[in-house]
Symmetry: C2
Subunit: 295 residues, 2 copies
């Protein structure tokens, strides 16, 4: 019986790699891709499928319990490729204490989990504000404070440039260039960057910027850009191969920097969330081999 | 009676400027903002309201008749701030002849109308293609051919960097930097750039890029970025003041380059299109004065 890909319903292009297949050695499942799984279920799902690494979300960690999550990933022998997410640093002065406290807690959780990095989604414009330079300045100032604390705890902050689509409401760091200009003020072990194909694939200067990122690459995340654009912009991410992104070229650029860390599949998509998570994992394993891994 | 703004329904912030008000001297109505008006109706609408300039669309010009459109704007004494649009140059070899012929015709029409420029929306990826560098290369090659023809006909091609949101399906020129790198290979009278607030407001390097654009600024277009993002991404533009863009800062940057051309209001928005076009024009005149004009 030929398996069907999720969510396209197309026949699988290759056989699903079996656990232990060396092509899976760097694959990580970001748990948001299998949204309905708890941390425990996602860990079990990775173990059963042979995915050696996982990206965890703080809301799900909190639901499951941090200690329990630490034990689950340790017992399963999984790497934690990232914790998602810190950030939301753009609030005005009355939000400063909350933001810093929350981010220190996120750093503590990442340290406890032995995560490779804490992904930072820096936040959009405060309600009613049009002061974009001001919001960006607050991000810089607050990252500077958090970088020290992160370094003390052995956690790398991973600044995620967000697609300019999200500048107003999610992340005022809009390009890899801008993320690097910020990260480069700090030691690389304190502050790196996320390269997420969805956010950066359009950038006309991507080659030079990935090369410049080099040892700052804290996380490499993949998902596709699909059209027509879905009604909910937040859920506009597609399974690799269903959209317009040339993953192999991007992976090659990342590879050329010497990056050998995990490659994390992170997809927000209502149709994928409605599917059986096991089918989603099987599809992403196949598509990862077909589209993402350098040939 | 206090007038209400379109489409917010909020009370007008200022009285609508009367025809002849010097604050309107550089205002242009892009006719897509009043979508249901023909060229003739839009010309009449500008004349009645005291808007001295108009941006015309080729589909509407074709419907109305080119000669008739030329006579209408001449009789009304309006400037034609732009013709929208040429471009769609990313097709593969089998689309080359069509694309070049269509663009030469667009240049001819722009020349006949005495338009300040022909706006170039360069096109997205061809169906099924993931070769973004290839698409961008074809744009460069074809602009190089068209630039000569445009120059011979006294028309400036205005490369419009499109928001990265549209990279896959509308325009592979995604930043002002990229548009300038292309335009700067040609004499400024042949190839300039469009600065459209919607497309570039998020750019972290906008100040230096607008300064660099200087005498390449062929058109300055304004509309707002609104959230939550509407279901149809193409119609996600808002009336100035209804969204997140700090227009006055951007206008100041443009002003500092010495640009003294028209400022064109171009809004694609289903709610605005459903409103009475006269109310739309009155609103945009007020909002232009309140939000866009440098103080």
């Amino acid at each position: 019986m030929i398996e069907l890909d999720v969510p396209s319903g197309l026949p699988a292009g290759i056989a699903t790699p079996a656990p232990g297949d060396p092509r899976l050695a760097r694959l990580s499942l970001n748990q948001r891709t299998t949204q309905r799984w708890s941390v425990g279920e996602a860990v079990d799902g990775c173990l059963a499928a042979g995915v050696p690494s996982i990206g965890l979300w703080r809301e799900q960690i909190a639901e499951f319990g941090l200690d329990r999550a630490c034990r689950a990933v340790e017992r399963a022998g999984l790497r934690v490729s990232s914790v998602c997410r810190g950030g939301f640093l753009t609030g005005l002065a009355d939000d400063y204490a909350r933001a810093m406290s929350d981010n220190r807690q996120a750093i503590d959780e990442s340290a406890a989990l032995g995560a490779a990095c804490l992904v930072m989604v820096v936040g959009g414009l405060p309600e009613g504000s049009r002061d974009l330079p001001g919001a960006r300045q607050r991000v810089e100032d607050r990252i500077a404070e958090l970088a020290v604390y992160a370094g003390q705890n052995g956690v790398q902050l991973a600044i995620e440039p967000m697609h300019p689509l999200f500048c107003a409401d999610r992340g005022v760091i809009s390009t890899l260039r801008q993320a690097l200009e910020l990260a480069e003020r700090f030691p690389a072990e304190q502050v790196g960057v996320v390269i997420d194909t969805f956010h950066v694939w359009w950038d006309p200067h991507i080659s030079e910027l990935v090369a410049r990122a080099a040892d700052r690459i804290a996380s490499y995340q993949v998902c596709d850009w699909i059209t027509p654009f879905p009604a909910d912009a937040l859920l506009s991410r597609g399974m690799m191969g269903d959209g317009h992104i040339d993953f192999r070229s991007l992976t090659s650029l990342v590879q050329q920097t010497g990056y050998r860390g995990d490659i994390e599949v992170e997809i927000f998509n209502a149709e994928i969330w409605a599917a059986d998570p096991h089918a989603t994992v099987a599809t992403l394993m196949r598509r990862y081999v077909e589209h993402v891994l350098p040939s």
